[in-house]
Amino acid sequence: MPVEHFDAIVVGAGPSGNAAAYTMGKAGMNVLQIDRGEYPGSKNVQGAILYSDALERMIPDFRETAPLERHVVEQRFWMLDEKSHTGTHHRSDSFNEERPNRYTILRAQFDKWFAKQVRAAGVTLITETTVIELVRNAEGRVIGVLTDREGGPVHADVVVLGEGVNGLVAQRSGLRPELRPQHVALAVKETHFLPEETIRERFNLSDENEGVVIEVLGSVSSGMVGTGFLYTNRESISIGVGCLVSDFAEKQIPPYALLDRFKNHPSVRPLLKGAEMKEYVAHLIPEGGYDAIPKLTGDGWLIVGDAGQFVNAVHREGSNLAMTTGRIAGECLARLKAEGRPATEANLKVYRDALEQSFVLKDLRKYRKIPKLLKQNRQLFTTWPAVINRSMQAFLRVDGRDKRAKEAEILRGLKTARGNWLNVAADMVKVARAWR
């Protein structure tokens, strides 16, 4: 016997599920949200970057109550070899604006806060409950969900799947194929605690609200397609690396060994000195890009967030795509409901259309070729960072050799590294074209 009938059930209380539930709740719909965690975002002290814009569109005054760590005033890009890094910094006082654009956050607290807003919007949230599969009627239309708790299925007009990258519910219900190892990265991340003042001094920050982000390419991924990152939170540092699952499988490198090596890199070690490691997490990131996006809608269901592979791996954007797809889904469903139209596959086309109009699909389409490019051009993660660091070395050392000889050496190094000049040129063209 069904328990109760809702207008919509949202599976997951991550950024995407929360955005969808919040939007529908605000529109007056009777929404049930289900998450398997003890509370939304539970257990993780994990840090991340929050992009204001996507959240601001739903909750304009989020800054007043959301648990934000530091706003980002400086971004560093590093190319790593075993001993050195070469990179760029961008730091600007204009990031100290009234409504900063990017923040570091701790997901555990942020998700909890977001869930509270969702509940305040009238959504019924239940936690510690895992959705096992979707329930369909005789016509194959999705009419509800079955959970791991006793008491039968719960019914709704539509189910929004914001279940994250694994997408097991959708997969088990035959809505999408199994994840492919070359479409997902495995990220391992640790949180290291440091006193606030130490972080401030070590990263050259003027107060406890300013933060730094470091993105890293090169030896950090040991030849695999992947990157490393380091974020400053108020009293902790989040550090991690992520590489394609297929690469991990092939190279047989344990992820934690990779992270250990990164932490012990001479450029990184001093930043973590004296810190106390408190949390280790491993999580998947969908990085297949545009071509990996599964079917997004069907009769009585739609997919939002990581479950739909909505991640821009190049820019490390994920939660904002999750929130945007969640919000757009919520808006579409609220409109259908207001117009008295059922959530059939045909009617849900509006969701796909709206996504096409948004930055979400535009960006993913723009970078459509990047995943393949990276997989086929490992030199971007190995040879290039090494050559660049070697060149910088040659350029900076003052050792009695004349400058022209040095330039020649640098160019020669470049050429030998890639075999011939054609390859050097080809790399540049490939990157430029994929980027376009």
Binding site: V3, E4, L32, E38, Y39, S42, K43, V45, L106, A108, Q109, T124, L125, I126, T127, E128, T129, T147, R149, E150, G151, G152, V154, T191, F193, P195, R234, E235, S236, G274, E276, K278, E279
Partner: protein, 289 residues
């Protein structure tokens, strides 16, 4: 709090505590860094809650959960509702801050009195102890203040006679278990591992998500004299908080290279008895007879 012949009613006192494994201490100032520390229901209290629900399922009636804490302690109550508790009461007031066990048991006993006026209480349950305060005193404190029969370290409730208002139970004591008969109303502090916590049904979860949590300030909880609450009502005062000195020495490592397991085992025993001659004596004594 004399019992009226109405439906059976237990109140379970639960506390929201930081997940102790995640507590950090600021290396310089020695204060607690609470940032990002998840909170849980004090694990010991869950055994009390389950026992109360088990009795309810057998004898009918109601289980109320009660906590004193900051507003966010509502999460703990809601979780308890999802596990199957019927009603939740939160007492929260700035004036409660800094309570020691005496002040905590004072505030809770006032709230219990108020609950009992509306709905007489047969049993007040608490956990054996909390994992943050870790004193095991709040239960006895409540019992004393309310004049309830105090039954601590209860391992099992064998029988309940509602008409005769008696309860038969097992209480852990040194070297054994006391089988006791006492009278209702009483206060029970429940021992760990005495039952297995259930999972609420989907209906429980839906009810919990929407159930109102009754929230009382100090006055509403019937506390007329704030002098007995919080820091003022606490005879003890914490003068210093500090991190324990980490053990300087790591384990002494037994050399295993080139040894058979039997030789390694002998080496372990040699080192063991060298470090603790008492141990050898004690061990030997046990088996002498």
């Amino acid at each position: 709090m004399t019992r009226l012949a109405r439906e059976f009613h237990s109140v379970v006192c639960i506390k929201q505590v930081p997940d102790s494994a995640q507590i950090r201490v600021h290396p310089v100032t020695n204060t607690i860094m609470r940032q990002g520390v998840p909170t849980i229901i004090n694990p010991y209290d869950l055994f009390a809650l389950e026992e109360a629900m088990r009795l309810r399922d057998e004898y009918g009636g109601t289980v109320t959960v009660l906590t004193m804490g900051p507003p966010m302690a509502e999460d703990a109550l809601r979780r308890a509702l999802g596990l199957g508790a019927n009603r939740a009461v939160l007492i929260t007031d700035r004036r409660f801050a800094g309570s020691d066990t005496l002040a905590t048991s004072f505030a809770l006993s006032k709230a219990l009195t108020r609950i009992g006026e509306e709905h007489p209480i047969d049993i007040v349950f608490t956990g054996k102890q909390t994992i943050d305060g870790d004193t095991a005193q709040v239960g006895p404190g409540i019992a004393r203040r309310l004049g309830l029969n105090q039954l601590t370290y209860v391992a099992a409730i064998d029988a309940l006679d509602r008409d005769g208002a008696t309860i038969t139970l097992r209480r852990r004591s040194e070297g054994g278990v006391q089988v006791l008969r006492s009278r209702l109303p009483c206060l029970i502090t429940m021992l760990e591992d005495t039952n297995t916590l259930r999972r609420g049904t989907i209906q429980d979860m839906l009810r919990a998500a929407r159930a109102p949590v009754t929230t009382w300030s100090a006055e509403e909880a019937g506390i007329a004299d704030p002098m007995q609450c919080g820091l003022r009502g606490s005879p003890t005062v914490v003068k210093r908080v500090f991190a324990p000195r980490p053990r300087a020495d790591k384990a002494e490592m037994v050399v295993v290279e080139g040894k058979t397991p039997a030789q390694t085992a002998d080496a372990v025993l040699d080192l063991l008895f060298a470090q603790s001659p008492n141990l050898e004596a004690a061990l030997s004594a046990r088996f002498k007879s």
